[in-house]
Amino acid sequence: MDTPNRIFKWTTILLDGEVEDFPLLCRLDLPNQDVIKVDSERTRMRLINKQEKDLIELLLTYFCKETNINYKQGMNEVLAPFLLFFRDGLSLSKVYRLYHNFVAKFLENMFSDDEFVILESYFVLFKLLLRYYDPELGLFLDDNKIGPELYATPWFITLFASKIADVEVLYELWEKYMNENDKLFFLFVALALMIKSRNSILRSDPSLVCQHLTELTFKNLEVIEYVLELSKNLKKNLPYSLYISLYKPSNLSIDAFIAQQYSKFCLKLSPRELILKCYPLSSACLCSGKCLWCSKSKSENRLLIFDCRKADEQRYGVIPNTISLNTQFFYDMESLRDFPDRYLPFKGKVHIVLLGNEDLKFKEYRNKGSLKGEVYDLKNIEENTEDKFILSLYIAFSEKKFPYVSVVDGGFYACHNLIVKQGLKLINHGPDTCIYCNPKLQDLPKEPPNIISGLKNVFSSVKKYFKKLGSDKNPKTTPGPSTVIVKKNLEKWKSDDSVCFFICKQYENPKNLENAENCIIIITRSKFLVSTPFSDISSSSDMAVGNIKAKVRVKDFMKAAKKRNLQTAITFYFKGKKLITLSFLFKSAIEAKACLVQLRAHFNRLREMSLIAT
């Protein structure tokens, strides 16, 4: 587009009938005038001439005085593209109004407070959104303690201006950006820009990630087209209530708002949206189907809702079309971590929503390092509070790279109240005994836990899965000592530093990894053992805790081979009367490598002791 056309279009969008020119005069006498001056001089230095630099200083000073905002670096970068219109005959006062209105509309409040608190709150929001859309990237940056404050500042406060060298490219971006007419659209653009380069970010050396991120930019028009298209899709794919929660004006003070943001570890879906989805046939809304909520409820965003309350809370009523889960279904942390695998076909296609009892009570984890650090120090899942259970489940989904995971704002309490108010039915709900209808009942002694019949159908599929896991819990004790591991053996190994355990899965057929069975590899100085998962080890020392599925000698180790395209799968070859091959699927490539290293270390030690002929 040529410049006169662009000027015409932009003045139409931004000036809205403001046509009067006015004299732009002011003294250059702000307390930080020298900073404005130096910054004016170093704004787009290859493009802006001396006279224009003076004008930049004048306009910035005028802007600060008129709006009563202290000058901040970045304002100059936003002004420069507008000032260039002056070359094409636009009056200085119109240049100023364009700039002023652009900042007011698309950088609302960004510069208004001296401490950049608004910016800080966008950083928190951005972090949550990144984890929502691309958990792998989000957790990777989280692990490396790289927050948006380290790379996203110029994107946010200058709407990418300071990162785009070619001003024509910047005009194109801003023009398309303005068409979107959305003051928070920069969040989606920044997300799209990162997601576009996600693979190269994930492959970067951790010490170079920041550098890599700060180098992301829009090189040309194709990149703009691609990124903006992606941004729009990301925005469209956000469940409605999450979307409006971003834009909802907050009546909290800025500090309270920030504290609230930090207290979230993920985005929160509103109970209203959940109910619209869970009761698709009834008019869950009181508006008779005409409000924005109802129209959005027919959107294609599908929700998979997990009720994560305790079993004795679920028996007072459950919401239809939700899947009941609670800590009792998981016999250890591992089974919880692997749980998302069951929903692989839905990955990326549904929005996963975790429903707790009430609002989650998380202290802010700011400056505490990564989110995962918070939860993986848990030793025992059953000791966990419900909040931690939900957080663990959230991380389990995120680690398995499931995007779109959120929690329900206000939890079941909030949903229950809305459901009752609207005359909808809960499954197994007895208003007289329900602790949600009668909060006082909560203080009475509880009946023994009992899974009520109505829930069984919902549970059946889940239970089947855990039955399978549970079947390993009671290994047969009949076989002789060579085929079982008894408790005292295990105790001995545990106190021996040279023995290592690896939890993994064993598979027979490389084409069918789905059928891989849970197992534990035990590597001692001389033996390589494969056991079934250990069962309860609290009883007597002769009690069997696991069955040995395979037992070979370290000195018979020949070689190991990784499966092509799958770093976590390793096949070990051992000498014997016949060649013995054992194939395993590890949780991570690091774990796989660690196992191999351990085996080789013992093998080498034996070789050094000349026990193995070279």
Binding site: D39, C210, T214, R600, A601
Partner: protein
């Protein structure tokens, strides 16, 4: 090149004193009179050798003028060294260094090493901060002081390398290992028990 140690260093100081120019001169040997103002941070790295130790310096060149109330610590978290820069022709920028030192003492890593750089020494005629005053202050806080010019290159290598030396000295005095041990740890959660196995050998064939 194998790297024995890796240090994070931050550059701090008021806007336009020449933090980016110093870092660019040091890492890339370039000086750009038309350096854009830094709205975020630049992340640079340089491999150097001090005595027998090869060191990778990760230099976090921060934005000067604005500090985020809660976010500034994210820049200097885990930094082992800080290059505090002022402009010898600007009195205010020196006082900013003083306030940075106070903040770092309160918030940053306890063992952080400081070096103060009086930049723009090519503009000696416009000097506003007497060199003696700056050196006396540096001495008082246990830091080294360098007169630098990103434009001419004067003192640039020296001030960055001094930081690396100070960090190494501090480590050897406090007895921290020069080479991080390659101890591996492994955690397995099974049933209700957690077994932690630590392996000391880093051997691998």
């Amino acid at each position: 090149m194998e790297v024995d140690r890796e240090f994070k260093i931050v550059t701090l100081g008021e806007g336009r004193v020449g933090k980016t120019s110093l870092a660019m001169r040091y890492v890339r040997g370039q000086f750009n009179e038309k350096e854009q103002s830094t709205t975020n941070a630049n992340f640079l790295e340089k491999n150097i050798r001090i005595n027998e130790t090869s060191i990778k310096l990760n230099i976090w060149d921060t934005a000067g003028q604005e500090r985020f109330r809660a976010l500034a610590p994210n820049y200097y978290r885990e930094a082992k060294g800080a290059l505090l820069v002022y402009d010898i022709t600007d009195k205010e920028s020196f006082w900013k260094v003083v306030s940075w030192v106070e903040e770092l003492k309160m918030q940053a890593d306890k063992d952080i090493s400081f070096v103060i750089a009086g930049n723009k020494c090519d503009l000696e005629l416009d000097r506003q901060i007497p060199k003696e005053q700056a050196i006396a202050y540096a001495k008082q806080i246990g830091a080294a002081h360098y007169s630098t010019s990103a434009k001419s290159g004067m003192g640039v290598n020296e001030c960055f390398e001094e930081i690396a030396k100070l960090i190494l000295d501090k480590e050897s005095r406090s007895g921290s290992p020069i080479r991080s041990s390659k101890a591996r740890s492994r955690v397995i959660v099974k049933n209700q028990e957690e077994v932690v196995k630590k392996k000391k050998s880093g051997g691998c064939c």
